[in-house]
Symmetry: C2
Subunit: 623 residues, 2 copies
């Protein structure tokens, strides 16, 4: 089944391609979920997956195993080779992933909101751009070699684009990350939340336009842009020459690139897409939805538009993802794009393409070899100080109070995914070297990690906790032996004792004491026996699902089928109220209670709860 | 921005890649929708898109334009070149598309249903396989050269796999096509419908296992499998040699392939996946749904599993899509895979990846040059006769009546997409040549086209028509001038006159006459003035949406806001009843009526109606 040749994929190429994508996706998801569990953005885990699978760890281990005779092949080279058909196919897939990812980011930019917030958003966003941009531009202009300019970022021609790039890299704000943080803190719909979001959108737009200009300014590539070592042979060079000749004419069409022309065309493209293009999409969507199959037709339509715009900007000489982003902004603004279409696009791209893209970043960089502590700290400090003080100044100018201005400025400092995407593109284009790329990744991740907790502290807010955050499988009983109230409390207390280390009969006594004052049955088949306990380190919830039901004397007379034992430390009186309300809210919907009655194991119980929680928070989100 | 080299994609590669995919997707969707409009499977239009974009038409036009000096570049070569980075990246993307497509096909196989239908399904399906298989096997065995065996389908080693392949190609049934036909005819949930579906599923399973065996039996490739002319240069050959050396060890691991071992491992893999694998997925899904973000986590999980299985079967030496198909069957059977997850996967893959795959088939074959009428007719007749008579015999054995057995046997003859996928794989593997591939495509499309109408005729059924089938934008009025009943009927009659060519005052008179007997207001703000007219060629519906409402004296006293004028020919009394019930059903849901009140143009009106119709038919579908 082996098919060979420079122009087709062999069976081993295809095997490695599929396995490579599966491994990237799988590990990225696993570590992304880990990160999420610690309330961190999942992109952190996804990038870590790439670092593990790349030369930093997996590659190094492979080489170690070969050198010591444990292996005869380099596993890393088999899965993620540096040349050959599989590498090209994987690169192509990753390019498409990045393009579609930016399309989704563009979809989230709501032009109407930005326009509505108007003046204030412009003030905050411009102040937040100018200062860090000045910082970045200045040091890059004077110390390009020290900071890590790539082969095309040096010399007379490269100095300006390199300096502009670093300015932009330091002044970007991550829309998806900050939106997530605001949702978590439940302030996305407050005035401050809306202001942060519109400023971030504006910031995104300005940043991408600036980056398009950087790409247009770049001196023509005189060498292979891929900074990894290419084991070039004579034959490879010969092929390269042929490719040059083949695509030479095309390059001539677009190449000779008068920089000014490229920038002008880009700006015209942008202006047209955001006016006529936006209107055309708005007019065409109902047409497509009326005549084509639904929702499939509109799905193909929007992806097709985004790919065409992406191809156009790539042809112009700026990157494909700029076109995809602009297409996303133009289409996303239409009120005719229905929720279900957005949801399908979002789910598939954010959960398949996006993790693969972020994991791929680590594949070609050795994060240990290229870690330069001076550059990392320099970039981190300058970006944070510039962004925070600039945004604070802007927010105060826009008449925000001190506390809110502080919170906002740290919110705007979150760089997240967007900074990393820009860095990766710049690195691929040969504008920056691996050391600077590592510094940008570290800076983007660090700012994303700290901005949430700082905002929370400044605003004295609490993360909205969910019931599921207090639960593990061991704290759910789906096949109870108990048949009455006393036995049920006994069974719950016993399980609680195993988990907390307290004595079962003491828990039992306290709970029963409370229960005797008044039964804790709630309407809808719920009950919440509870107690405050001394010596309890942290709150403990045990839930039992009772198919037949136990009579907890509820107001509506129904037997309790979902019974939650809520134990809280004596010194945290507010936690008891929180747990009571979380419990009642989690099982408020009849459909959820119905599904809870059908589960067969604690894990299935947790699955229903997890889905319900995500549906609830979706219903509360702006989109 | 040009990046060169044999191991990375240049900007022009990326431009062509994105544009190529966009063009394939766009044209496939447009022609697919055309086909759907004529009640044909959309795969017909998708394949046609590929034929138009391939060497048959676009390629031929490009060459013509160059030869006559109208163009300096070959546009076809720029977009879909035969070698170089873009070709490899596009091939990789198409391979991934095919893999994911087969995963979705596998998801639709419902093992439990097959097992429940048990004996009867086995009888029908086996009888339907044996006869056409025997036909195909026999002629392929005796006349391989004449029929069009490829380079690897000839000679002593190739004869057996080639004969088995043609047997399978003739005995396959297209699950997606037949399921769609049954839904259209509204008999998917009847006993016969369920029997057809389970037989088709069983047939699919047997067909794919058989094909895996064919691939295992294939003699090792001694040449480039791609049958297109490769403009090979010395340099390309040298590269090829290097690739051989590089992947040689891997090939040795899997290559030396003792055929029996490969088949055994494949069968063990299949058995394990359908038992332990199926159980493991069923157990792991709640775990993933309980702990990972929802619905994103489970989405990544299932795609990851399917890619791993695909990589494994590719490694075994059979094709990647077999593994994806088996993974789909194993996962799809779990009741824990929620509707929303299925829906997201389905929508995205069927509307993005699947059209791209089907369109890609035409990209490498010249359908005019390779059209051999004798082979086409031979394959078509043998496949149809074999499948229809075999299935009929099976159905009679399973005690079905003559009429039902006839209907079932034509249903089973629909080859659709699956036959084409197998053909494409066989062609890529060098087992068959372009002429036979064209014949298989023609046969698969023809059988898909005829089976629906024949079943309909045999069972004397009607397609379920929808209200939207009777409407165009011109037949919808969203900004009426009328303010009372008389004016409204006048306005509707005038529009009807423009469309039918009848006189407006005659229509007006007839409708008013009917309206005077009794007003036609319905509860919920609907009204249906109607009349039967002589000289009307076909039914005519005009709908007006009146924001304020007109008093049509409805039972609930509400003014009519959606008013449909229903005109039917005098000699079709049953059509009037049909239209009345379609109208009432279409606007039965309050949510739909609400959205109708908000639309601003006839096109938006049609969009709402189209979405509502698709939601209604989804609610009625088995999944």
């Amino acid at each position: 089944m082996l098919q060979l040749g420079a122009s087709s994929l062999s069976a081993s190429d295809i095997t490695a391609l599929l396995l490579g994508i599966a491994v990237l996706l799988g590990l990225a998801r696993i570590l992304g979920e880990r990160a999420r569990r610690y309330r961190q953005p999942s992109v952190l885990g996804e990038i870590l997956a790439g670092i593990i699978l790349g030369p930093t760890i997996f590659g190094a281990i492979s080489i170690f195993l070969i050198n010591n005779g444990f292996l005869s092949h380099n596993l890393f080279d088999l899965l993620f080779p540096l040349e050959g058909g599989e590498k090209i196919a994987l690169d192509g897939f990753i390019t498409i992933s990045a393009t579609l990812l930016l399309f989704v980011v563009g979809l989230e930019v709501d032009l109407s909101t930005v326009i509505r917030q108007g003046k204030e958003a412009i003030t905050v966003s411009m102040a937040g751009i100018v200062l860090p941009f000045a910082f970045g531009f200045t040091i890059a202009w004077y110390f390009p070699d020290f900071l890590g300019a790539g082969p095309r970022g040096m010399g007379e021609d490269g100095q300006l684009p390199f300096a502009i790039f670093l300015g932009i890299a330091m002044s970007i704000t991550a829309l998806p990350v900050i939106a997530k943080i605001l949702l978590d803190l439940n302030i996305a719909k407050s005035d401050m939340g809306m202001l942060i979001i519109s400023s971030a959108m504006l910031n995104d737009l300005v940043g991408w336009i600036g980056f398009a200009i950087v790409l247009a300014l770049l001196p023509a590539a005189a060498m292979l842009s891929d900074t990894t070592v290419v084991q070039s042979t004579e034959a490879v060079k010969e092929i390269a020459h042929q490719v040059v000749n083949q695509s030479g004419d095309m390059a001539a069409d677009m190449g000779g690139s008068n920089v000014v022309t490229t920038i002008l065309i880009t700006l015209v493209f942008l202006a047209l897409m955001l006016t006529l293009g936006r209107l055309a999409c708005h007019k065409m969507l109902p047409y497509v939805q009326a005549r084509w199959s639904w929702p499939g037709g509109v799905l193909s339509f929007v992806i097709c538009i985004s790919l065409i715009c992406a191809a156009f900007t790539e042809y112009l000489g700026i990157h494909s993802i700029f076109g995809a982003f602009v297409a996303g902004v133009a289409i996303g603004d239409s009120t005719h794009l229905r929720e279900r279409t957005r949801d399908t696009i979002n789910q598939f791209i954010m959960n398949i393409f996006s993790p693969i893209f972020f994991a791929s970043i680590g594949l070609r960089i050795n994060f240990i070899d290229s870690f330069d502590i001076v550059i990392v700290l320099l970039v981190l400090v300058l970006a944070t100080v510039g962004k925070v003080s600039g945004s604070y100044f802007g927010a105060r100018t826009a008449k925000l109070g001190k506390r809110e201005a502080s919170a906002l400025s740290f919110g705007m400092a979150a760089q997240g995914a967007v900074g990393i995407i820009l860095g990766q593109l710049a690195r691929e284009a040969g504008l920056i070297n691996d050391e600077l790329m590592v510094a940008i990744v570290v800076m983007a991740l660090t700012t994303s990690l700290i901005s949430g907790p700082i905002m929370q502290a400044v605003l004295r807010l609490q993360h909205q906790r969910k019931l599921i955050d207090f639960l593990t499988d061991k704290q759910v009983i789906t096949d109870p032996h108990a048949t009455d109230v006393m036995q049920t409390i006994g069974e719950l207390s016993k399980r609680a004792a195993e988990i907390t280390g307290l004595k079962a009969h003491e828990i039992y006594k306290s709970v029963l004491q409370r229960e005797r004052i008044m039964h804790t049955g709630l309407p809808g088949g719920l009950a919440v026996p509870h107690a405050r306990l001394d010596g309890l380190a942290k709150p403990c919830v045990i839930i039992t699902r009772h198919r037949i039901g136990v009579d907890f004397d509820s107001p509506d007379g129904k037997p309790a089928q979902i019974i939650g034992l809520l134990l809280t430390p004596t010194d945290q009186p507010e936690t008891q109220i929180e747990l009571l309300s979380l419990f009642a809210k989690s099982f408020a919907r009849t459909a959820i209670r119905q599904r809870i009655l059908e589960v067969n194991s604690p894990t299935e119980f947790m699955a229903v709860l997890n889905q319900a929680a995500s549906e609830d928070s979706e219903a509360a989100s702006p989109h």
